[in-house]
């Protein structure tokens, strides 16, 4: 070990400085114990970043270990930059989801843009070319100007970045709920395609191999971004705006091409994004995976400005940078590839035999840790988990006693309210700003149950989707966790895809509060149950805690990003009704469960009741029925029945695709024992709306599997209405009404105030 003395000009280590770095007393004692001395300022900064929740998963690691992570098709599970699954023919899909919630809450445009950039890099550093982006977004109510400002800024940030790099944004979901008012969620998922042979891992190897910094120069932006993401949002958060990075998608595009060329070139052994905690975490993690030592000289790192300290260089989160371990003697070849793309490369260190993580400033050692203990010694916590009694009470409430509003005597009115609820209504306002067709693989783009991308050179396609109903998770985290996985699986199955694997992004509040840790623990348990039953292991993901504002925690929102495989392009199936006279089938139960529903939220302003039950074994069997019927060629259309229940699902089959509108006649009189609102708007799980010209064959498949399959109506392509006969009346919804409600809602709200003046208005509000 070297002699490490405090660096001239650096602050003296005091208890206040330690606290400012987010370390508690126990963690600081651990650090001193590891070093056998007082840390330097640089060392404190390094540990502050690596032991932040964002980098260390210290509150979630033991729970995440309970999730299933293996299957014969999983080539890379959790622990790398992204998960990888085989799809046959020597091809593989790399995918991962990540949050950028805190930056987006403060600076929506750059926050969202750099979120896209980071997840793109995670995928292409595995050796995969990104082929699709997805986004899972949560905002407060669009009635508020600040939310419109955040929504429009996030959408523009996602679009400008992905559009420029040239990766289609194809799917996702957007939910609006007061629970996300002070703390929006911005989760971005990237999917890449690769040859299995090109898989590369971020593992430093080979003593003497040079460590090279690649891409953009290092500046003072984003210092302590990882720590910022690991604390609650407050009124002071705006002052931390300088911690937010600024993205440059053009440089990202160059870095993407150069990195893929490097990986194919055989000049390098490892590559990793300098993401959260920048140079520090990328170098420490690569060393830890390879079980080697590294030494880095910060004076060799190309910087954007003069006079940056080791502390700043190590903790900068400047975007569009990569760390590469090259083969010794190949430095020039690496430099040539980067020069072709007008990017810089600088040798900043090397892999060493000594088991140490060392940072120097020229000849002076400014930080040194034994072995890889700076990564492995991070504490992990399992705090107390206890459900909040108030939430248990909400779940147990008797929702059948809620009186109907007078307008509900006309169920078409209720349907109109639900179709225009921003959570259900068409999100075309957002996705029209995303290039969804570049790279010419998009078979089904945004707006479908899941997006479908063809795989060139094969007859296959993949289906991708994100899902999570946070309201369910709030009311019952175990059940909600199951449903998040099951709904994503149903969505990809609707397109003809077998669900293969998931990535997850766990957005929760402050885990040191027992009621939040309870949610985290239970939701992960529920997800694990569903993943095991559905055969969809978790290949990686991200945990975002401390999603709290002064108004409280967000709904616990464990977003699931699902990848499914379509064996033949002939199986690709869409949601819209297609052929006049086709029989409409409901696969699954007409359960009438109204707890936690969009109906209660939109019509009554209530978040109440037990969410619908989710029998994961039965979900699996039901999905198999759909896939078998699609394979047999007897399914004209398939749509998942979720938010808003079967009435909304039928309406969506009629009008969601503006190029394929239809009407329908349905008859629900066999369920006259159910109340109309339960029947029409209940959100019982495990259900699909199918249409078929050979309903008997679908019924036969369902019967063999023991899943109910009821004929509920007929497709009427030329009818101007969706008619649903009820025991005691009729729901008649005009196509024009449904179209206006569904397609007109969000554009109408967003045109209320120009978004830029909404921002200005809001700035005035918050200034007072």
């Amino acid at each position: 070990m070297s002699v490490v003395a405090p660096r001239a000009g650096d602050p003296v280590i005091t208890p206040a400085l330690v606290a400012e770095h987010g370390l508690n007393d126990e963690e600081y004692r651990r650090l001193v114990g590891m070093l056998g001395r007082t840390p330097t300022f640089t060392e404190l900064g390094i540990i502050s970043a690596l032991w932040s929740e964002h980098c260390s998963y210290k509150h979630s690691r033991p729970l995440l270990k309970t999730l299933p992570t293996t299957a014969p098709w999983v080539l890379q599970g959790p622990g790398e930059n992204a998960g990888v699954i085989s799809i046959g023919d020597g091809l593989a899909v790399a995918f991962k989801i990540e949050s950028h919630n805190h930056p987006s809450a403060v600076e929506p445009y750059q926050g969202a843009a750099t979120g896209v950039g980071g997840i793109l890099r995670d995928v292409f550093t595995m050796g995969a070319r990104p082929i699709a982006m997805l986004n899972s977004l949560r905002f407060g109510s669009l009635d508020r100007p600040r939310v419109r400002y955040l929504f429009s800024g996030v959408v523009k940030g996602i679009g400008d970045y992905g559009n420029c790099v040239g990766i289609p944004t194809v799917a996702g979901e957007i939910v609006f709920d007061d629970a996300y008012e002070g703390n929006p969620l911005v989760n971005a998922m990237c999917v890449g395609l690769m040859h299995e042979d090109d898989l590369i891992r971020a593992k430093a190897e080979g003593v003497g191999n040079p460590i090279i910094a690649v891409g953009a120069r290092t500046g003072r932006d984003g210092i302590h971004g990882a720590s910022f993401a690991s604390e609650d949002l407050s009124a002071a958060s705006d002052a931390k705006r300088p911690r937010i990075q600024v993205g440059d998608p053009f440089t990202e595009k160059l870095l993407l091409e150069a990195s893929l060329e490097l990986i194919k070139s055989d000049h390098i052994v490892a590559i990793q994004d300098m993401g959260a905690a920048g140079l520090t975490s990328s170098s420490a993690e690569m060393a830890e995976r390879g079980d080697v030592g590294v030494t880095i000289d910060v004076t060799k790192v190309p910087t954007r400005e003069k006079g940056m300290t080791p502390y700043e260089i190590l903790l900068s989160e400047s975007q569009e940078r990569m760390l590469v371990v090259a083969k010794k003697g190949h430095e020039t070849a690496v430099g040539d590839i980067l020069a072709k793309w007008d990017l810089t490369a600088a040798v900043i260190g090397e892999v060493i035999g000594e088991q140490v993580y060392r940072v120097t400033e020229g000849a002076t050692v400014v930080a040194e840790f034994p072995g890889s203990r700076l990564v492995t010694d991070c504490p992990s916590y399992s705090p107390e988990a206890r459900e909040a009694p108030a939430i248990a009470e909400l779940r147990l409430a008797d929702i059948s006693a809620i009186p109907e509003r007078p307008e509900e005597r006309n169920p078409s009115w209720t349907l109109e309210q639900l179709l225009s609820a921003p959570t259900i209504a068409s999100k075309a306002w957002a996705y029209r700003q995303f290039d969804s067709t570049v790279r010419t693989n998009t078979v089904i783009g945004p707006g479908g149950d899941a997006a479908v991308l063809r795989i060139r050179g094969t007859d296959k396609a993949i289906a991708v989707k994100t899902d999570c109903n946070g309201r369910y998770v709030y009311l019952d985290p175990r059940v909600g966790g199951r449903i998040a996985v099951a709904e994503a699986a149903r969505n990809v199955a609707c397109t003809g895809a077998r669900p293969m694997a998931i990535t997850n992004c766990l957005n929760f509040g402050n885990p040191t509060r027992p009621e939040v840790f309870f949610q985290l623990k239970e939701a992960i348990a529920g997800m694990g149950e569903a993943c095991r039953a559905l055969g969809t292991p978790v290949t990686g993901g991200n945990v975002s805690l401390y999603n709290e504002s002064p108004a409280g925690a967000v709904y616990p929102t464990p977003v699931v990003g699902m990848v499914g495989l379509i064996e033949s392009l002939a199986h690709v199936t869409r949601a819209a009704f297609r052929a006049d006279g086709d029989t409409i089938l409901l696969l699954g139960e007409m359960g009438g469960e109204l707890g936690g529903s969009e109906y209660l939220s939109t019509i009554h302003g209530l978040v109440l009741g037990a969410p619908p039950a989710c029998d994961v074994e039965r979900e699996k069997v039901t999905i198999d029925v759909v896939l078998e019927a699609i394979r047999q060629g007897v399914v004209s259309s398939a749509h998942d029945c979720s938010d808003g229940g079967i009435a909304v699902a039928l309406a969506e089959c009629c009008i969601a695709d503006a190029e394929a509108e239809s009407g329908a006649d349905a008859d629900f009189s066999q369920w006259a024992h159910l109340r109309n609102r339960d029947l029409l708007f209940g959100e019982t799980q495990g259900r699909f709306v199918l249409s078929s010209s050979a309903p008997g064959r679908v019924e036969a498949i369902a019967r063999r599997a023991g899943i109910p399959c009821a004929r509920i109506g007929v497709v009427r392509l030329n009818s101007s209405t969706l008619d649903i006969s009820l025991g005691d009346g009729l729901l008649r919804a005009e196509r024009g009404m449904m179209r206006r409600a569904y397609h007109g809602s969000i554009p109408g709200i967003m045109s209320r105030t120009p978004q830029h003046s909404a921002a200005a208005e809001d700035a005035r509000v918050s200034a007072h």
């Binding site: 523009k156 679009g159 400008d160 559009n163 420029c164 790099v165 040239g166 440059d248 998608p249 053009f250 440089t251 595009k253 160059l254 091409e257 793309w341 007008d342 996705y431 029209r432 700003q433 995303f434 290039d435 969804s436 067709t437 570049v438 790279r439 010419t440 693989n441 998009t442 078979v443 063809r454 060139r456 392009l569």
Partner: protein, 230 residues
Amino acid sequence: MKFGIVTFPGSNCDYDAFHAVTEILGEQAVYLWHKDHDLQNADVIVLPGGFSYGDYLRAGAIARFSPIMQEVAAHAKAGAPVLGVCNGFQILCEAQLLPGALMRNAALQFVSAAVRIRVENADTLFTNLYQPGELLRIPVAHGDGRYFAPPAALDALEAEGRVIFRYADAGGRTSADANPNGSERNIAGIISEHGNVLGMMPHPERACSLLLGSDDGVRLLESILSRVAA
């Protein structure tokens, strides 16, 4: 026939153009690197979509000064075919190989959608396999696609039959609602004085497969073949 597809560092539709030419058309294609001066004997030059050099200044404003563009301009001036799509159209206008300019979309938002365009002149190098007035379904994806030229220049373009495509609705009307970006007179594509340089915002290379929604773009590429071969 050999197609040369120019790759600027920020091009992102070069790959789609390459595949449309080689897989759909069955013709030869080569990528032309922006730093080179060599068109590799390509017969047809394609300037694909993307963000050439980031386009932080003005779309295509830097690309026009690139080494390869000197050769593309010479190729165009010699009367040989040049097709500019999206960013390629912007670059052709910046390079003054086509008149007018492409401004920020009127709604100040990027627009990605499958739009309809009406064939205004079916007697050109690029459109001879279409019917006059035919409606094509072709994707657009751009932030700066609002075609602008002074009224006199627009009148001249129209008089000379150089407006090749206009945005139209399902009934073929060139309504304001059908105009995705606020282009003057719903103009989606124009041709050079000598008929060898076409610039258009919609992406014909993305409309080459019914699986992806439309194959209306195929005949644009085939038109070039039929005219040049004949």
